[in-house]
């Protein structure tokens, strides 16, 4: 493949970085790690660009790469290093930043795929079908992962919404 694809790559990437960063940030909750995930994703994208540029829905492909990079990092354990890894102890945190920390820590304690499903569906507003495509699984699996993830979150946090929150 010739390097005319570089122009297309650069144009593509420059327009997508904010959206990719946002999803990466919501997935992991850490800005630096989000940047690392995006960096890894666009590196892989460049390596494969001569072929990827010809697929029908490049955005879906790239977001799939991003989500998989996130899952890979979780699997390796690297992701946990800088996250607040302690389980939440107090039921009703006083301020917003502490509340976020508690929620994020709880999310981080549930299995990676369940975490990804919850974030993609409820923070990124992705449909069940979209999430199934991103994770490479069936819609039924997305629904069951949602249910398992929610159960796990409730177990960790208690039934917080509508109460102390």
């Amino acid at each position: 493949m010739n390097d005319d694809s570089d122009a297309g790559y650069l144009e593509y990437v420059s327009g997508r970085i904010p959206a990719l960063r946002r999803v990466a940030f919501l997935l992991g909750g850490d800005e630096h790690q989000a940047d690392d995930l995006v960096q890894e994703t666009i590196t892989k994208l460049y390596a494969k660009w001569p072929r990827i540029a010809k697929v029908e829905n490049v955005d879906a492909y790239v977001h799939t790469m991003l989500v998989r990079a996130f899952l890979d990092e979780k699997r390796r354990g690297w992701w946990r290093v800088s996250l607040r890894d302690k389980p939440p102890e107090r039921p009703a945190p006083a301020d917003a930043s502490e509340e976020k920390a508690v929620l994020r820590a709880a999310l981080d304690r549930i299995p990676a795929r369940q975490q990804a499903v919850l974030v993609l569906r409820f923070l990124c507003d992705r449909s069940v079908a979209d999430v199934a495509q991103l994770l490479g699984c069936s819609e039924g699996t997305v629904k069951s992962q949602t249910s398992h993830g929610l159960t796990a979150l409730r177990r960790i946090l208690g039934d917080r919404v509508g109460g102390a929150l």
């Binding site: 940047d35 460049y46 569906r121």
Partner: protein, 394 residues
């Protein structure tokens, strides 16, 4: 409250955007991604590009000490006052691109339908002389890309059909260069060709003294990848060793690393050459980023005879360089270096009307009177054609 509403409300505090500036380095992604590529990689591999504006730039000595008179530097062309953009003829092809232009501005080469099909399809190659289409030739193999053309209309490049091979084109005929697998990168007006031979990312730098000659290896340090970027009119070949060690292979058979400049007392991390033009070697200098990982890349040019450095831009990839071993990138408002300054090129409005608002410069003549390039879709919409363009400047 059903489960969906519950989770939405529960997670709402986590919604938001990253607040700090991104630390994402697209240049690094391309460099790292390039290593991960296998076959496509070859062609004049991406190098760089350039930067912004600037009216002057700052001269810095390669070595900090002793003040000395300004060396005798090659003269730069006058920056043209204005340019007009026009389409290049492409017969009835829906789409076509220029991939290289020569130093005189008279010869341009490219191909038809670059955006259609796969690289393995043999695509018609188009040659323009003085802005007129003079040849339309289907190469004997697929995946051909011409990366450079000289003032005699002799072009060089690569085919990546099955395996990469170096090719040359002249007067309607494509011929494989001697030496086996690899690729040609650049040809100067004397017909000396620079390229690499080998395979699987282990291609070694070589020089062909003419398109018909046997290749001669160019010595390079062992154990690191060496990439050829361009060849000067006098036969000097520039390349990069590893990530950021600029390197010169001189016509007398010797070779030497290019010492990175010191700026504000700080040594740069290295220099990545891009293209010889106006007697200078343009490229990017990498500086460490204070308090963070990664590097900041700024466009400089280097005059090999005197060892003089000149900063020509701010961050890399804001001004086009258009050399044989360069990165290509699109701009809504294209500009290219002329000496240490930048020349702004007008958009070709019919292209913009057709949603082709992203311009890439592929060549500029030594007098800066002829610039060639393409207009394409900014979001890389492959359903839109590519328009080959010529800018005439005075």
């Amino acid at each position: 409250m059903n489960d969906d509403d519950y989770v939405t409300a529960l997670l709402r505090p986590l919604a938001g955007e990253p607040s700090g500036p991104p630390r994402i380095d697209v240049v690094k992604a391309m460099r790292d991604g390039r290593r991960r590529r296998r076959r496509w990689w070859a062609t004049g591999s991406l190098a760089a590009v350039a930067v912004t504006a600037v009216t002057g730039g700052v001269l810095v000595a390669a070595r900090p000490p002793a003040p000395r008179p300004l060396p005798d530097l090659p003269p730069d062309p006058v920056v043209p006052a204005s340019c007009t953009a026009a389409p290049l003829p492409a017969k009835s092809y829906r789409s076509a691109e220029v991939t290289a232009g020569d130093s005189s501005g008279r010869w341009l080469i490219g191909r038809a339908e670059p955006d259609v099909g796969t690289p393995s399809i043999s695509k018609s190659h188009l040659v323009w002389h003085d802005g007129k289409l003079v040849a339309d030739v289907v190469p004997p193999v697929g995946g051909m890309t011409m990366t450079d053309i000289n003032a005699s209309g002799v072009a060089v490049g690569i085919s990546d059909s099955r395996a990469d091979h170096p090719w040359t084109y002249r007067d309607g005929t494509f011929t494989r260069l001697k030496g086996g697998t690899g690729f040609a990168v650049a040809i100067n007006d004397s017909g000396v060709v620079a390229g690499q031979l080998g395979r699987d990312q282990k291609e070694k730098p070589v020089r062909w003294s003419s398109p018909a000659a046997a290749p001669e290896p160019l010595a390079a340090p062992d154990g690191v990848r060496a990439e050829v970027r361009d060849i000067a009119p006098d036969g000097t070949i520039a390349g990069v060793i590893g990530d950021f060690q600029g390197y010169l292979w001189l016509p007398d058979g010797t070779a030497r690393p290019i010492p990175a400049p010191h700026v504000d007392g700080k040594p740069a991390l290295g220099f990545e050459p891009l293209v010889f033009r106006y007697g200078w070697l343009y490229g990017t200098v990498a500086f460490p980023v204070t308090g963070g990982p990664g590097s900041e890349q700024i466009d400089y040019r280097y005059e090999p005879r005197t060892g003089t450095w000149q900063e020509v831009g701010a961050l890399a990839m804001k001004t086009q360089v258009a050399g044989p071993g360069r990165w290509r990138f699109g701009q809504d408002n294209p500009e290219i270096y002329v000496g240490p300054r930048t020349l702004s090129l007008p958009a070709y409005l019919p292209a913009v009307d057709a949603y082709l608002g992203s311009f890439v410069v592929e060549g500029i003549s030594d007098d800066a009177h002829v610039v060639s390039g393409i207009a394409m879709s900014g979001p890389a919409d492959l359903t839109l054609p590519i328009q080959p363009l010529i800018w005439r400047c005075r």
